[in-house]
């Protein structure tokens, strides 16, 4: 029997994906299907004075036109957020279609439903909306000004929450006593998630059974069902609702959230008693998928004369957009402030975060969700401190790392790191990149006028957010456990049920490997089922690199139950005591004998219990729920080298080395793929991407003509190294690998570019580091910081 754990098994789901046979929401066609087109606001902020739907309704093929008021009148409530940050957090209503006022370009105002998509689109142009435009605010810092336009009626400012973590007084005292303080002001710019599959939803109400099926491109179907039935549409009974997330083409966080279109399609389907489908056009995705990042921060890092970090003080203004998306309040707080210790022993840390409403697309979790923002800030300010102190950046990091014998380590920002070996990862990365050789090469190149640089990013992340009791105390309105089910069929074939969801991660392979390994059966005898609330026990979906650490652990628990029961049955058949029976490679054996029974025979016995142990129920079908004890803490060091063309400002990444410690690895090929994709996404933010608004709230980067995604020829071949420090508190010893690349790579690349240019007086260039910005910094007469000064807010690129 092959050992499936740690084996680079080819992904079983790829057969359908690479042959174009995946079944995504938009591929589903139901009898009597109708098509929705949503009329969206062109104004960032305006009062709706009148909506004339008559012309649209008169179009041949149009079945109905609904407005936000129609939905509210029919009992549809506001979409809530899933997390409360403090009691004072402001939570203005978010109706599926705007009522009274629009709050951002792209806000839905009306929906046209027709017998075909083209008719719906044409008729949507006939919906006449009379607006009274209002002054808009785009920039989060500007939104805090006393005379700023107020985004939401009924609020007296745009401040949603004012949150802090850490000991302010102790941090201030340590900072005041510091030998050196490095100050860094930064903009972590807004980015657009750009999953390859645009969002899609189908509402299918069966009036005879009074049942609703909602197909949706979601990362967590159970949470969507819960939010829909418990909060948004209380008249809809949860047990009469099935949410199906079939194949989903990428999420990166943007498909976690409960979106208006899911409510609209579900509700309209009941009104019309026909299935209603909506699929975003790419231009719609740009203005409706929750955006990521958008922080403006000031970081101060205090160090003593020996280069020990003594205090970190951070102030951040986080742009939340126009509405609170599902996880929005948690991202710039509990998933950001808690990570500001990084890998370092900094004893005093204080962070203040102001969450602010603006007339922009809502901002929520985007691959890494808070941890990339924290890592960027920490790794950039540490890099600058090294430069200012004239220390080697690798050595400053090494000097301040939490040491292996200090775990479990309580950070000053509320986390307990359970394990780690930071120096090990750094050393491996230094060796892989050939650090000393590169420094010599860099010095030589500089003599010839060439600009080479090397950048570091020693990151930590917290994955598998948990346990439920703790996150509940921190304001989460849901638990963060996971479900797993093992259904052994009479022939010994196995179905695995997981409450996580796979939208590119390869769960159908990784989870099957675990089950095949544990039961000693061939991989092809295992089928992984996910994404359907009618088939899978209540689960929390996939985000925050939690699926394997939390969902995989639930599967392990269910496997334990299956094995325990199977052992009882086997012992009975083998006429032996239970404790004398061992289970090895799919066979139960009386220890020290050749008396055996295979797993398949045990399964058959469980369902044909003619000769069966007393007091044991028939069947072999077990569920488990797993609530972790703690987060998991993957970490690593990434190092890249770059060359900057002084004539054009173009940055070329020469080499990229990633040493990640994600704990035990089930499928190294999948992990490596995750690291690759993650690095590319983080490089995208460093060099290319940025969502730009004009001052009136018009998005200017609304298509791929103006929003630059990283492409293959922008990236080198990544050199991936692993280190394994198993997670001490989950049964698989795994930590999560989905976001590590993105968390590390943005700071890594920017640090490398600044390393290349620091001797020219450049200590920072705001992201994205486009050729124009780099060139301007280089040609600003040495005062690079001034030339490349960050724009006032998180949106400046133009």
């Amino acid at each position: 029997m092959p050992n499936f754990i740690g084996s680079p098994v080819k992904r079983v789901e790829d057969k359908r994906f690479i042959t174009g046979k995946g079944r995504y929401t938009d591929d589903i066609v139901l009898p009597g299907m109708t098509y929705a087109c949503i009329v969206r606001s062109e104004h960032a902020h305006a009062r709706i004075k009148a909506i004339d739907t008559s012309a649209a309704e008169a179009v041949d093929g149009v079945l109905a036109v609904f407005t936000g008021q129609d939905m509210v009148d029919d009992g549809i409530l506001s979409i809530p957020t899933g997390w409360a940050v403090g009691d004072a957090m402001k939570e203005p209503p978010h109706y599926p279609l705007a009522v009274g006022k629009v709050h951002h370009v792209g806000d839905g105002v009306a929906v046209v439903i027709a017998t075909d998509k083209a008719t719906a689109q044409d008729a949507a142009e006939q919906v006449m909306i009379e607006y009274e435009p209002l002054p808009a605010v785009v920039d989060a810092t500007a939104a805090l000004a006393p005379d700023a336009p107020i985004v939401h009626d009924g609020l007296d400012s745009n401040l949603c929450f004012d949150w802090e973590l850490g000991d302010r007084d102790a941090t201030d005292r340590a900072m005041a006593a510091a030998h050196h303080v490095t100050t860094y002001e930064l903009v972590n710019q807004r980015v657009v998630p750009n999953a390859i599959e645009p969002r899609s939803a189908i509402g299918h109400y069966d009036p005879a059974r009074e049942e609703l099926t909602l197909y949706t491109s979601s990362q967590n179907p159970h949470l969507i069902r819960l939010l829909l039935c418990a909060f948004v549409w209380p008249d809809l009974p949860e047990h009469k609702v099935r949410v199906v997330s079939p194949d989903v083409g990428g999420g990166f966080g943007s498909k976690i959230f409960h979106y208006p279109e899911e409510v609209i399609c579900a509700w309209a389907s009941k009104k019309l008693e026909r299935p209603v489908k909506w699929t975003a056009a790419r231009s719609e995705s740009f203005v409706t998928d929750a955006h990521g990042r958008d922080h403006v921060s000031t970081a101060e890092l205090g160090l003593d004369a020996e280069g020990n970090m003594v205090a970190l003080r951070v102030k951040t203004v986080a742009n939340l957009g126009a509405y609170l998306s599902t996880f929005a309040p948690a991202v710039p707080t509990y998933l950001y402030g808690t990570l500001l210790a990084g890998q370092y022993r900094t004893p005093h840390i204080h962070v203040n975060v102001k969450g602010v409403f603006t007339n922009t697309v809502p901002v929520d979790a985007y691959r890494g969700a808070g941890r990339p923002e924290a890592t960027f800030l920490v790794e950039r300010v540490v890099e600058l401190a090294a430069k200012e102190l004239g220390m080697d950046p690798a050595e400053l990091r090494r000097k301040n790392f939490i040491r292996p014998d200090e775990f479990p380590y309580d950070t000053p920002v509320a986390l307990q790191y359970d394990s780690g070996n930071y120096e090990g990862a750094l050393d491996k990365a230094l060796e892989m990149i050939g650090y000393e050789d590169f420094r010599r090469e860099q010095a030589e190149a500089r003599k010839q006028g060439r600009l080479l640089g090397i950048g570091f990013s020693s990151y930590i992340e917290a994955c598998g957010i948990a346990p439920s009791q703790v996150v509940g105390a921190l304001g989460a309105r849901a638990g963060l456990y996971e479900s797993g089910g093992i259904r052994v069929h009479p022939t010994g074939k196995v179905e695995v049920f997981t409450g996580t969801h796979s939208h590119g991660q390869g769960h159908e392979t990784t989870f099957a490997q675990i089950v095949a390994h544990e039961l000693g059966i061939p991989l092809e005898n295992v089928e992984v089922v996910h994404g359907d609330t009618s088939r899978v026990p209540f689960g929390m979906g996939t985000y925050g690199s939690r699926s394997l650490a939390v969902g995989g652990s639930a599967i392990m628990r269910a496997l334990d139950k299956v094995k325990d029961k199977a052992r009882k049955i086997a012992a009975h058949k083998l006429e032996a005591a239970e404790e004398d029976v061992e289970f090895v490679d799919g066979t139960f054996r009386v220890k020290g004998t050749d008396r055996t029974i295979g797993f398949g025979d045990v399964a058959l016995t469980a369902y044909v219990p003619h000769d069966y142990p007393e007091g044991v129920e028939p069947g072999l079908d077990e569920n488990a729920f797993y609530d972790p004890k703690n987060f998991t803490f993957p970490f690593g060091t990434h190092i890249c080298t770059v060359e900057v063309d002084p004539d054009t400002g173009v940055v070329r990444i020469l080499r990229y080395v990633a040493v990640d410690d994600v704990g035990n690895i089930i499928n190294p090929m999948i992990v490596e793929g995750q690291i690759h994709g993650g690095i590319a996404q983080g490089v995208g933010q460093a060099l290319f991407e940025g969502a730009v608004y004009d001052e009136t709230g018009q998005p200017l980067t609304g298509s791929y003509m103006d929003y630059t995604m990283p492409r293959a020829d922008d990236l080198p071949s990544f050199e991936v190294g692993h280190q394994v420090t198993p997670c001490p508190h989950n049964p698989l010893g795994v930590k999560g690998a989905g976001e590590a690349g993105t968390i590390a790579s943005t700071a890594c690349v920017v640090n490398a570019v600044v390393d290349a240019l620091y001797h020219r007086g450049i200590r920072d260039i705001p992201m994205p580091l486009t050729p124009e910005r780099v060139w301007r910094a280089l040609h600003a007469g040495g005062d690079g910081a001034a030339a490349a000064a960050a724009p006032a807010g998180g949106n400046g690129q133009a």
């Binding site: 062109e42 104004h43 370009v105 949507a124 142009e125 231009s283 740009f286 203005v287 004009d694 009136t696 018009q698 998005p699 200017l700 609304g702 298509s703 003509m705 103006d706």
Partner: protein, 156 residues
Amino acid sequence: MKLEGEYTLPGRPEELFDRLQDPDVLVAAIPGCERFERLGEDTYRGVVQARLGPVQSVYTTTFRVHDLDPPRSYRLHMEGQGPGGFVQADVLMELIPQDDGHTTLRYSGEAQVGGKIARIGQRLVQAGAGVIINKGFNDLRKRILEDLDADGAAAA
């Protein structure tokens, strides 16, 4: 978006000023204008088919002429609304007499675009607007030449 430029028209400011307010002349200067009607003293509404970058759309547009200072200057306010987005512009039109009996029509102002045009065609808007304005002035010039010829013929 800044709108700025100038164009030379035949005729002196005194000959041109009223003509430029004439709905029949105005409509000639709006490429793609299909229906044009007077709403009030200084206000007109037209349905304009326009293409800006990749966005082709029909805009219901109101024009308002205000701050008249004959024959030196006036302001033209425009608001267009359609499925492709919205355009708002307020432009100062100055009539500057030339020695040769011609007039330089100088326009300057601000335009705001929103919706799909801004999102998708933003960087093509300036160039696109230039093409539309040029075509508008060419058509206007032709129309004024015809008018002046007709006047001349009538006078003769």
